[in-house]
Symmetry: C2
């Protein structure tokens, strides 16, 4: 019961980079997704805004390209994270990222 895989494309609206105390490089982007899907034979609008965390050396070569306005597709797993305001929110931990712009 461990399946947890998400593939989501969208536009970066915010982006920041930092190194953790352990020296691991992280990029954190806000991804905005807009699309339309059929559900029960009705076309509906789909909107997602979600934080994506890209951790470790595998993302260092692409980190500089992850700027606001760039279109990307990310693949990874979802997890609940406690935000600074103490509220839980769902975020994506990326395992792969593709630049689409």
């Amino acid at each position: 019961m461990t399946t947890n895989n998400l593939v989501l494309s969208g536009t970066i609206t915010r982006s920041r980079r930092f190194k953790s105390p352990a020296g691991i490089a992280h990029s954190v982007i806000m991804l905005e997704h807009k699309s339309q899907r059929y559900e029960a034979d009705m076309l509906r609008n789909v909107y997602v805004q979600i934080q994506v965390i890209l951790s470790g050396p595998r993302f260092e070569s692409v980190a500089e390209d992850l700027k606001a306005g760039v279109e990307v597709q990310v693949q990874g797993f979802m997890t609940l994270q406690q935000g600074r305001n103490g509220q839980n929110r769902l975020v994506i931990h990326a395992e792969n990222v593709e630049l689409k712009t």
Copy 2:
């Protein structure tokens, strides 16, 4: 830029069914997912609790089985939904569901 696909397994913690004014059958379940993943060479705990909406006739045959305690795998798309408390939250709209119990 329309890719939005999520596959998530977990245990149903809550479940309800209703028909919309248009007569469409809906099931709404709360899905709890617990697993572990490697990220930047470190094993981390992964926890998700998310609402899953199953709309339309394709789910009617399985609706009765979607009870608390049952393990399922759902495939669908994510979207932002305004909750009753006015807060936005991410939910899954299912396109397929598999019973795993």
